[in-house]
């Protein structure tokens, strides 16, 4: 899930985050929405830094319109925004460490961070 990305760091590094996301396959999934969880995840400042890159990726996949053009002001309580963010899932792709360039594959929605 996209929101999990918020906590991820390349293991063994001090500042190996946020990991760049290279997407091969992405999905918006209908999953059980929990607004408190989503709000908690979104609170981490990392999300905002990556938002522009995320929009670009979605546009590249023809998925513009999934998310608003900017993070809304009071995003923690903006349920529509949280809902949209919550349902975005990377299925296949790669996470790249900004510090070392090390690449971590994502396959079938599961990242391998060894």
């Amino acid at each position: 899930q996209l929101l999990t990305h918020n906590m991820l760091m390349a293991p063994g590094t001090k500042n190996g985050f946020p990991l760049a996301i290279e997407v091969e396959k992405m999905e918006t999934v209908e999953s059980e929405f929990r607004s408190e969880f989503t709000a908690r995840m979104v609170q981490k400042p990392v999300t905002q830094v990556e938002y522009g890159a995320l929009l670009q990726t979605l546009a590249g996949l023809g998925m513009d319109g999934t998310l608003p053009p900017a993070v809304p002001d009071s995003y923690e309580s903006n349920e529509e925004f949280l809902r949209a963010l919550h349902h975005v899932e990377v299925i296949d792709g790669t996470l790249v460490c900004p510090e070392t360039g090390k690449r971590f594959p994502i396959k079938d929605g599961i990242p391998s961070m060894l």
């Binding site: 906590m7 293991p11 985050f17 969880f37």
Partner: protein, 226 residues
């Protein structure tokens, strides 16, 4: 972070400890994942009690999530759980069968930022780690990813377990049917994978050193336990 090199534990020894866990923990679980999942689906009562005690909305790291059997309890308690495990086969089961947000990772070198979780679970993991240094490193890593005031539950087998008692909490059921008195501190515990088990992989079984025993109609794997 991985354990530091010191005079008592040179790099070569640490490497052999990691290799022991690679061969007798990770590869074995990869080979037995489906039968494991079929027989270890019940979350232990004391662990569930701990999960239920966490505040609603807590971010929980299940470090060594295995087949994801704690996912339902976490969801019921309104928690956001992220699971990780060394065994990619078990992670696949956790993600698909138990609908857990899960990833493949090493509990000694976690892919999480400092202080990113409210709570952590380390259930039946410590006893698969082959040295004091590595066990200490696992505990420090767990603490690293917890925010100030966060809580962790470590739950593992002990040499001192009483014979015949499998005391997982109320009712005492769930877990091993037979509890042995272990002969030594570090042992290889056999796991019999039945011939009839579906979804077996000859490749994974060979990599894990499985030995077929025709009399028992099973392939035997040796799991490392401290």
């Amino acid at each position: 972070m991985p354990p530091k090199d010191n005079v008592e534990c040179p790099a070569s020894l640490l490497a052999s400890q990691a290799a022991l866990e690679e061969q007798h923990v990770r590869r074995v679980y990869d080979a037995i994942a489906w039968q494991w999942h079929g027989t270890r689906y019940k979350a232990w009562p004391r662990v569930v009690e701990f999960v239920r005690s966490l505040p609603h909305g807590s971010l929980v790291a299940d470090l060594g999530c295995g087949n994801g059997k704690l996912a339902p309890a976490c969801a019921e308690s309104g928690l956001a759980a992220v699971g990780c495990d060394f065994s990619s086969e078990l992670v696949r089961i956790a993600a698909r069968e138990m609908r857990m947000e899960a990833l493949v990772a090493d509990c000694l070198a976690l892919p999480y930022r400092d202080a990113s979780f409210d709570a952590a679970l380390s259930i039946a993991v410590l006893h698969h780690i082959s040295s004091v240094e590595r066990r200490r490193a696992l505990v420090s890593e767990t603490m690293r990813v917890l925010r100030a005031g966060g809580v962790a539950l470590f739950y593992a087998w002990a040499l001192e377990q009483q014979e015949g008692v499998s005391n997982h909490g109320a009712g005492g059921s769930g877990g091993l049917r037979r509890t042995k008195r272990f002969a030594a501190r570090d042992v290889l515990v056999p796991f019999h994978q039945r011939d009839s088990t579906p979804r077996r992989s000859a490749e994974l079984e060979a990599a894990a050193g499985g030995v077929h025993v025709p009399d028992k109609r099973a392939t035997v794997f040796q799991r490392y336990c401290h």
